[in-house]
Subunit: 158 residues, 2 copies
DNA sequence: AAAGATTGACCGCTCAATCTTT
DNA sequence: AAAGATTGAGCGGTCAATCTTT
């Protein structure tokens, strides 16, 4: 007997279609919004979202610096090749590297003043895009529900 | 006078933080789930999500074929370089190309039997991942609310 | 000239290999 | 041997230039 939790018939005729289905919508909305935001950042001659991700992770850290492996845990967009991403931020003067004293292997990424300034410069555009494209279309109640659900999903996925 | 709709103070001290905030959670959940699903597909020696996207777009089409520009509209993940993506699917025997008769410029991407078979082969793994990682964590009511909200957001973003 | 599609060049992501220190 | 980080190779995405047909 087949697994009763899965209806094969329905599965084959009604897959995660692009326009229909909650998951399909989730993928589509993500793709569209990120694309629009990246375009706006580019038009304003500002760095991409991945840079913001790193800058903000460092700014949240107590001393504005993190070990590379700690930074990798905080950053979700492009967790790999962090070394090279930090290379670029360093070349742009937004972060600097610091070798650790206690552990010869270790390296810190440290936020510079320019880095703080850049994140603050990016934020208004980023925030207004999030607000206009995303938050404005949710009622307060919907936002609470969505946030709870997303937290649950994230926790379950590890 | 400053734009009263934007509270600069709040903005600077409470940006779209990674762990906090609905938008940050949205980004994180997307990144984590897509990553897990891609890993599972790879482990099962199945093609990536972008291929599924194309295959399913063609399968939805009445005659299992679409003009390239039509396909570009249906597909959301990687809308650009569709030519090369179709190259790969063609090399794998999952789609074939057909020149149009009425318009010498035109080209169709046509789903092959192997293409249909491959989508059907991918779907159970894909579906069970969606179910386990995403749908299972939403109540029926939450899913309805989420779907409505996402539709609204998508419509507004064009 | 404009539409439809392909190609070339560049950049970013991903993974495995490497190097250093513990 | 294992942890921390960097480097090299290859793949995939992005944009502009190109080619053909209308």
């Amino acid at each position: 007997m087949r697994d009763p939790t899965i209806n094969t018939q329905a599965i084959e005729t009604n897959p995660a279609a692009r326009p229909t289905g909650t998951w399909g919508l989730f993928l589509t909305v993500h793709a569209v919004l990120v694309s629009v935001i990246e375009t706006r950042l580019k038009e304003a001659r500002l760095p991409p979202l991945t840079w913001y991700d790193v800058l903000w992770a460092l700014e949240r850290a107590p001393t504005h610096k993190l070990r590379m492996f700690e930074l990798a845990e905080e950053v979700v967009l492009s967790r790999f090749n962090l070394s090279r991403l930090v290379d670029k931020l360093e070349a742009a003067g937004l972060v600097s590297r610091e070798r650790t004293e206690e552990d010869g292997r270790g390296a810190f990424a440290v936020l510079t003043r320019s880095g703080i300034a850049m994140r603050k410069k990016m934020w208004p555009l980023y925030y207004s895009a999030i607000d206009e494209l995303f938050l404005k279309h949710l009622t307060a109640q919907e936002e609470v529900i969505l946030q709870q659900a997303l937290r649950r999903i994230r926790k379950a996925a590890g």
